[in-house]
Every structure is written in C-alpha cells, then in structure tokens.
Amino acid sequence: MNKYLAQAVAKLRNVVTSRETDADFEREIRTHLAFIEEEFLRRGMAPAEARRAAQLECGNLELTRQSHRDERAFLWLAQAGQDIRHALRSMRRSRGFTVAAILTLALGVGANTAVFSVIDAVLLKPLNYPDPDRIVQFFLSSSSGPAKGASIPDLRFLQGYANSVREISAFDFGQSEMGLTSGAPEQVHGIHVTSNYFHLFGAPLVLGRAFNEDEDSAHGPNVVVLSYRLWKRRFGGDDQIIGKEISLDKEWYTVIGVTGESFHAEPEVQLWIPFHFNLNSVDQLHSFGVAARLKPGITLVQANAQLNAASEAARRDFNLPDPDFQFQVQKFSDAMVSYVRPSLLLLQGAVILVLLISCANLANLLLMRMTVRKREFAIRGAIGAGRGRILRQLIVESLLLCSFGCVVGVKFGLTGARALLIASPNALPYIGKPDLAFGLDWRVLVFAAGLSLLTSVIFGLLPALDVCREGFENVLREAGARQGTGARSKRAQSAVVVSEVALSLVLLIGATLLIRTFISLSRVEPGFDSHHVVLMTMPLHSGPTDTAASVTSMVRNVRQEFAAVPGVESSAATFSAPYASRMGLPFTSVSSNSTVSGDGEWMTVSPGYFGVLKIPILRGRDFNSSDTASAAAVVLINEAMAKRFWAGRDPVGQQILIGKDLGPKFRDTPRQIIGIVGDTRDDDLSQVAEPTMIIPDAQEPDQMVELEAQFGPMWWLIRTRLEPQQLISTVSEPLRRASGGRPMGSVRTMDDVLSGSIAKQRFNMLLLSVFALIGLLLAALGIYSVMAYSVTQRIHEIGVRMALGATQNDIRNMVLREGLARGLTGIVCGMCAAFFLVRLLADMLYGVSMRDPAVFFAVPAFMVLLTAVAAWIPALRAARLDPIHALRFE
C-alpha cells in the first residue's frame, strides 16, 4: 500500500479513536519521563531534583502532546466533528429558532425548486432529437406579424432559395384528430408530414421504414407510419404489421413503419401520413409548419441573413404584392415553447422575490439570534478560541441549517412542482406524459443546494463578521442588560425589515394587477350565451367523397335526431366553433358603386347556429331554408366587419367575392350580404372581434368543405333545457346513428370552454397570488418578530421611561411608531420598485393599466394596515409592562 494512503487511513481511523490513543500516548510519555528521571538518579541527583531535571529535559509536555495529536489524526476533521456536535446541540437548545429558520429557508428554496423544475423540463432541457440546437423552424414575418404557417408556394420557395439549411420538412401543426375505423372506432392524433421529416428529427424505426419521396409525391399511395405506443396498444405489438392495411377515416392505408419507443413528437402524435403535396399548386392556404436543419458551420444569424437576401430576390422575381414577405428562422425548441415562456418567466421572477424575502427573514432570525449569542462568542473568544475557530463554528451551523433547509425545501419543491403541473392550464410541452416523467434531476438539485448554501452562508456569516469586527471585548462590555441594542445590529435589522416589506409589496402589486386582469376578463361580454350549451367534436376528415351536399344532409339528419332527444332545445353544426382556429381570407366588393376590399375570417354554419348561441341579428335576416346550394349566394357579416369596411354606409345588399386570386381551392362565387350579426369574442376574450364572413353550410364550395374537414373536426353545438352534463350521455347515440357511425370526439360545455380560454390568466393570477401571500406572511412575521424582539431587549429602558412618567399610551405609540416607520420606508421603496417592475407585466394585463392608481393606492394602504397590526401586538405588550418588573429585568 502506498505510504500516504496508509497514513491517511490511519489518520482517519484515529479521528474516531482519538480518546484511546490520547491515553496511550500519556502512558508512553510518562514512561519516557521516568527513564530520564532514572538516568539522573543514576548520575547521583536527589530524587526531587532528578524529577525536576527530567521535566526540564523533556521541555513543554503539552506542546509534545499537541504535536503528537496533530500528527496522529486529521485535526481539522476531528474539530469539524466537534463543531457539528456543538452546532446540533445549540440547534436543539433553541428549537423555535431552528424550526423557523429551516421552514423559512425551505419555503424559499421549495418555491424556487418547484418553478425551476418546471422551467428546467420545459425551457432548458434539450429536445430529444439528434443535435436539436441545429433544427430551426421557419416563420413568415409579414406585415400582419410573424406567422408560423406556410403554404405550398412558400415551401417551394424555401426548397429553392433557402441555401443555408437542408432537410426542409413540412408537418401539420398541432395534432389533427383522425378516426381509426378498422375494428372499434377510435380517435387518434395523426399528422401529415413530408418524406424527410423522419430524417430531420432523427426518428428511429423499430419496424419497416419511413416514407420515400415517391410515396410523398402528388399521387403517391396511402401509407402510414405508426408510433411505438399506438402499435403496442392498438395492434398488440404485432411484428407482422408491415404491409397490413388499416382504415383511417374510411380510407385504407398500408402500414410501412413503426417508430422507436424513444421518439416523441410534440404534441403527441400517434401516426404519420404523407402530405401528397402537389408542388405546382398555387394555393395560398397557410396550414403547415416548416422546419429544417442548419447546414454545418452555419449559424442562426447567417441563416437569417441568407433568408433575407433570398426573400428579397423572390419578391423581385415573382413580383410579390406583399412588400414585407420575408422568411426567418428560429430555433425549433424556442418556437415550441414560445407560448409558455412568459408565464414561466413571470413565475420565476415571483419566486425569486419570495426567495429574497425568505432570505431577509432568515437574516433577520440569524441577526436576532446573534445578538443573543454575542455574549457566548465573546466568552469563548476570551478563553482562547481564535476568531477563525468561532467563524468556523458559525459556518458549520449555517451549513447544517442549509442542509436541513435544502432537504425540506426540495421536498416542498417536488410536491409544489407536481401541483404546478396539475394547475397548469394547457398541458405544458414535454412533461406530464406517462413516460416523460419529470423529476429530480441533478440540475434541479444543484440549483436548490446552491441557493440554500448561498443564502444560509451569507446570512449566517454576516453577523459573525460583525462580532469579529466589533471585537470580543467590546461585545462583552456591551453584553449586559442592554445587549443587542447596539446601533449596528439595529440598523441591520431595520434594513432587513424594510427590504422584506418592499419586496412583498412588489409581489402584492403584481398579484393584484393580475387579479384585476382576471376579473375584467371574466366580466367581458363574449357576445354569445354560453350557458346550457354543449360542444362536441366529430372528426370528418373526409376524402373527396364528402361534398357540401352530403355534409349538409348529414347535419340535417343529426339535427332532426337531436331535436327528438328530450332536453335538447336546439342544435347546430359548424367547422369553426368558438375558440377553434379559423381561416382568414381576403374579399373584394364587386358591386359597381364601391371598391371595398380587405381580410376577414371565414366561417360556415348550419341553420340554427345563431339561435343556439343567442347571437343577435342586428340588421337584415338570418339564413333560412331557402338559402340552398342552388339559390342565390349569400353571406352574413359581423358588426366589426361592417364598421371597419362600410363605416357610415349600409353593407346589406352589397356583393363581395371571397378568396379572389388564391388558387382553385378558394374559388367562390360573389355573395350578397344579407345581414349583420352581433360581434362575438370567440377567439380571445381580451381581443375585440375580427371582421368575419359567415356562409350557410349548404352554399359552401365543395373544395372548401374538403379543406375544412381536413384541418379540423366538425363541431356540434347543442342548447339544452337541462344541466348540460346530464345530456352528454344521451346525445352520443343519436349522433352516431344519424352520422353514419362517426365517432364522437371530445365533449365539453360551452361554459368550460369559455373559462378554459382564460385558464392561462387564471394560472398566472393564482400562482402570483400564492407567492404574494407567502411573501406577505413572511414580511408580517418579520415586522412582528423584530418589534417583539426589540421590546424584549428594551424592557429596562421602557421601565425607566415609565418611571420618568411615560404613560401606557406613550409607550405603545413609541413602539408602534417605530414599527410603522420601518414599514412605511419599506412601502415607499417597494412602490418605487413596483413602479418600474410592472412594465414586465404589461403584456399580461387586460382591463387595468399597469400603473393603475387604485392598485397603487389600495395595496400600499393594505400594507400599512398589516404593518400596524404586526407592530400592534408587541406595542401592546410593551405598554402593559409592570414598571417595577421592567426596571429590575436583567
């Protein structure tokens, strides 16, 4: 064995057996002394003289013992053990302090760990694709803002002009529902992709292969790739499945591959089918996303510069009308989480404030404890403990507090993170999937441990450094009855309380603004009546066999069936239900006497739609049974459209042509405006209604039916006489019967849909409120404990004041004044900070200005009240002191 290793082992062993070896050595040194003594006796010294001489000869025995001990074991380790034992003892002695400190720390660390776990899983973790940072998503930054949707001509342009990327792939956004109809009908999430999608995302295949280019061409065969989980669940992991046919929306597809278990698309996809794009198409339908991989050595910036140049060339070459037509790329991972990022960053900001407040509280606790313990340290210093030793003792105590706080905090944090996930409005990307369980990973652990370490060591050491600077002697002198009233520790405590109050005021103002936002949003009139309405989806996903006529007759049949169900008042069908996406299409007026043109949303509805949702017809007439496919083409517009394009004039009777120049898929005949309906806020409650053109379903062009059926389900709306939930079970059977066996998709009440549309705001508001509440609690505790402590420290002084004639009221007001002074300073600081920080919230507010005077008045007023209450209790106690007792108090 290496000698140093042997030595280290021996030293470690001796740390433990220190006491026995000490005794051993004592024996040895005694023998040594005896030998010398004997020697001197032999030389003829008198016994007493010999003993003295021997001791002289030996020198300082204590030094020898010390150097023996030093050599024998790792001294620092032995002392650390001592320090830990001592620290544990002193923590046990002041149990109240320990519990308060650990809980405070755990609260701050826990809140941060919870939010960071989620942020880590959603924003920071790399995507599960090869070299994910090189995958980019295209978006079009046109005059109407950035848009991720691309059209076939866009794809053609990118394939020809985007030279800085390769493996350009298109894929459907989100997940469309398809009916898997071989066997028991079931809705599955499938998307269309181009052939190099699998290569771009590095999808492994356990069986078969991905699409080739021929299969993805305009007239390619119907082929499908299944996800591992669908294959396992639905097909029992059949390894002979390649080449078999499955039926999707009544069409047959050949299974050619199964992806590997590790491959996940986001959101979840269960099967992939080829787009079969006709690349010569001129359709301006922006319906799919495009991603690609940066070529080696190309940066995002370079790729964007190249795209800028290419877009310019394309505008020139094709003489494009839109001067802003410009493609850009963004990291795929960023594009994916862009919609949750603001919420999560808001949360992170809030929990950092909570952490700061709990740090302040911890500092407060440690400061108070230190003033109590100053005497202890001064005495230890006076009997020979070095400053280093005392500092080390304090560090050990802080580290112990830190580790306990950290363990409890992580525990809180994981519980909190789970709660966060449950409370989060729309499933956050990447997490919450059964096999993508997120949990404690090293990043979260390091984060939590680092936080608690930083907090407890900094705030544990500050008071200790203070003691050292003051000098033990001074502390001892001061540490009499008036210990802890030193100006410095008082100033430090005031600073801590002031910052606590300031920070929690900032949180509270933020929370109040979000609460007001949420209240304004819930009070918004959506323009329709959501009560007693059930919303159901039914995937249509038709091939070319479905025409407007067949859909219309199916809708008529189902509506008749529904009408016979007891409790159903009325029903309607549409492709564009509230809060589902809609197509935007251009229109131009074709009446001879006006030249109106612009963009509006396209919406088709069955008869009865406006009745079900109680949307008023403001002018003209509703659709009626005479608006058939063969009758004159008609359209209703909403009030927003009338106001924007026909301000001061009457649009009713005008003719408009929708989708002009957009290619054959959008060909429509001129329609006459027959009326104006009320506006509905059915996309986003915080947004005013967009101009909308509403077409009767019987008059919808066949190619539009096909298009709409491809991109979304059909929605059924049923107005009920009963509570909507009661009806859900009774309508599914008539629906299946009358629709020719189509499966029913999701069912929700309109009220749920409406409140779901502001779920994100509710989530932000709730969490910020919880954090503000925690902050408030901590701040109130801080004020209370500092004032209570200060009263205890000043009992003697209060006694003197009383003896000199101060009344109970005087004493009470004195304490109260002091507490309020600190609170008010904090409030003023907090208001200043909040005044600037609210800017970060500006994008999330609705119906309240970010510097709303009411909020900026009411919240500080509430804080003043809280401060007063927190200071009131100690003030009252001070006032009720018995002056005799107070004077004698030591």
Partner: protein, 117 residues
C-alpha cells in the same frame, strides 16, 4: 519555531525517518527513550532530539506501516512501548538508503565542483 534554530545539528526533511529506521534495524525493538539516547550517543550529542520531534516521527512511521509499536516490559520491569521495524519498513529503508546515498553523492559532487572553480 525558535527552538529548532538552537538545535546543534538540524535534520534534513526525511533523514530522521531514515536514522530511526536504520537504528531499529540494527538494534532490534526499542522504546522511544532508547531511540533518543542511542541517537544522541552515536551522534556524539551533536544530534539533540526533543520529544516534540521524535514522537511525531514515530507516529508518522507507524502510520506508513514501517514500524509497529507494542507494549512490553523493560529490563527494569517498567511498561514501555517498543517500536519494531516491519517488513515494509525494511524495504523502505533499502529504498531510502539508496536514495540518500545518491542524494548525498550528488551534493558532494556539486560542492567539489564549486571549490575547483
């Protein structure tokens, strides 16, 4: 640390180990007092060892596994801790001796070179 300066002959780092090992090899097991007096005797009292130096060296050597200390009786029937060299100690002694010889030879040669120049 001033006590070190007063010492008649200062020991180079590591040489005490060598001397102690060599002493135990030739003399057999000895207790600390014996080691100290023997060294004083051999060095003609030029080497003044105090307990503050000897004992840590003994601890160190024992921890290296080169010595083994056991309690026994002296001729005068007194309890004393006897240190004996171990097998590892003998091996180390050979190695350290060679090392020392090479070192001192080198130093000697360098010093000679100095006088010639």
């Amino acid at each position: 640390m001033s006590s070190k300066e007063k010492r008649p002959a200062q020991l180079l780092q590591g040489t005490l180990d060598l001397i102690v090992l060599r002493n135990l090899e030739t003399m057999g097991p000895q207790h600390a007092y014996q080691i100290a007096s023997r060294l004083q005797q051999v060095s003609d009292r030029l080497l003044e060892l105090n307990q503050g130096t000897l004992y840590p060296a003994l601890v160190r050597l024992e921890q290296y596994g080169w010595l083994k200390g056991t309690w026994g009786k002296t001729e005068s029937n007194r309890d004393a801790r006897f240190y004996a060299i171990t097998l590892a100690g003998r091996k180390a002694l050979v190695k350290e001796t060679t090392h020392w010889r090479r070192m001192s030879e080198l130093v000697e040669r360098l010093l000679l070179e100095g006088t010639q120049a």
